[in-house]
């Protein structure tokens, strides 16, 4: 099912309007109110004194219980469709009650449910998902609304933790700046703070002037293929064959090794112009790679 189909289904459910459920099995009653007040630690004497139900109990009267059947609702089909589409996670985001009046002991309430909106797909902290919103109105025996609820849930596609990429670099004090740069989308080349020489791969001591004060410059991100290979065999963990690895010459004057991506293998050649791109390999590692430069 596509996201369009989900939205179409939502429109259909909205068009159904309100579906009335059955009246509550039990009328509003003092034992349940007493139990509720006790559990909540609510010592408000008003309710039992005057035979009124606490307003926020509205939904309690029509809950489906442990084994009693549920009334049909325009929400169910949509939630099922979202599950089927992979949005299996659920978290409630909003609950808004409006009370027209406090209900009395002895009254029997009937719920009516309307599906009101589906919004998405949206990127959220939980993962990609849809916000589904519905309204429930509780009616008294004269079909007058006594309370209403707007309820919104986020149905999300649970983030799958990516398999850890098996080919991890070792990182130490001398090389951490490079990998930190990669995380920030920068290709950093070691630059000797003393004599200014550029060097890649980096190291702790400048081979030219022996300074141990090392900084870096951020490369412009362009390069050309100096040499390359196409790996076919044997299989390499974490990679799909064939893949291309190149020695890339940077205009800054150093070379760096990386994969060439977004390019047919046959199109790679020495001298080809490239531009750096950053690829997440798992939840932690990002690698700088190289794609053909647009001309």
């Amino acid at each position: 099912m596509t996201s369009d189909e989900l939205l179409e289904l939502a429109d259909k459910q909205i068009a159904m309007g309100e579906l009335r459920g059955s009246p509550s099995d039990d009328p509003v009653n003092a034992p349940m109110i007493r139990h509720w007040l006790d559990a909540m630690g609510n010592r408000n004497p008003l309710f039992l004194d005057k035979g009124l139900a606490p307003p926020s109990m509205a939904q309690v009267w029509t809950m489906s219980g442990v084994k009693r059947g549920k009334d049909p609702s325009p929400v169910d089909d949509l939630l099922k469709a979202l599950d089927a589409h992979g949005y299996t996670g659920v978290v409630a985001t909003n609950c808004e009650h409006t009370y027209h009046r406090y209900v009395r002991v002895g009254e029997r309430l009937t719920p009516g449910t309307r599906f009101t909106s589906l919004a998405g797909p949206k990127k959220t902290a939980m993962g990609e998902g849809y916000f589904a919103t519905w309204n429930v109105t509780w009616y008294d025996e004269d079909s007058e609304p006594v309370a209403e609820m707007m309820f919104r849930v986020l149905k999300f596609r649970p983030r799958v933790r990516r398999e850890p990429y098996p080919l991890k670099p070792a990182v130490n004090r001398d090389t951490a700046f490079f990998w930190e740069g990669v995380r920030q989308g920068e290709l950093r080349i070691q630059r000797c703070s003393s004599c200014g020489s550029l060097r890649h791969p980096p190291g702790p001591v400048c081979p030219s002037c022996h300074s141990t004060e090392q900084g870096y410059v951020v490369a412009c991100g362009e390069g050309t293929v100096y040499s390359y290979v196409v790996h076919h065999h044997p299989p390499v963990p974490g990679k799909e064959t064939p893949f291309v690895v190149a020695v890339v010459e940077l205009p800054e004057g150093v070379r760096i090794v990386g994969n060439i991506v977004d390019c047919p293998v046959e199109a790679v050649g020495i001298g080809m112009s490239l531009r750096v791109t950053y690829r997440p390999m798992d939840d932690e590692l990002i690698l700088p790679m190289w794609a053909p430069r647009e001309t």
């Binding site: 559990a39 609510n42 008003l46 926020s56 609950c95």
Partner: protein, 136 residues
């Protein structure tokens, strides 16, 4: 228990903090009192199997506690008109839920109090409660 009068409530009035220890008994008894038998509110193993660290408060209880927070302060005759809650992090058994509130607006008949219920993980519920006081 006395109900506040109109001259005792003003914009900026601060409600005293209400802090509730969320024992498993609180979580389970409120879930049952609200007729919510979803396992994550009473079954630790079930809750953990779903990726939660423990059983946690159900939403009907959150709404009930927000109501209680306001009426504990405003008094039994205060009439709750609306409770709008934005739900945040779960309130797990073993944690403590602390409510704070401030009167932020009033109309001719109603007051609106902004309520924040915090647990150790952050905001569990934030929102507003609108109520009226009996004419004095």
């Amino acid at each position: 228990m006395r109900t506040l009068t109109d001259d005792e409530v003003a914009i900026g009035s601060v409600l005293p903090e209400l802090s509730i220890e969320l024992t498993p008994t609180v979580v389970v008894s409120t879930a049952l009192a609200t007729m919510d038998f979803t396992p994550v509110h009473h079954d630790v193993e079930g809750a953990r199997a779903q990726g939660s660290k423990d059983i946690f408060l159900n939403i009907l209880t959150t709404m009930g506690l927000v109501e209680r927070y306001v009426t504990d302060w405003a008094g039994p005759e205060a009439v709750i008109r609306r409770i709008n809650v934005k739900l945040g992090v779960p309130a797990y058994a073993g944690d403590r839920l602390s409510f704070n509130g401030t009167i932020v607006s009033r109309s001719e008949t109603d007051y609106t109090v902004e309520v924040r219920g915090k647990v150790s993980l952050g905001d569990h519920a934030t929102g507003t409660v609108t109520f009226s006081l009996p004419e004095s």
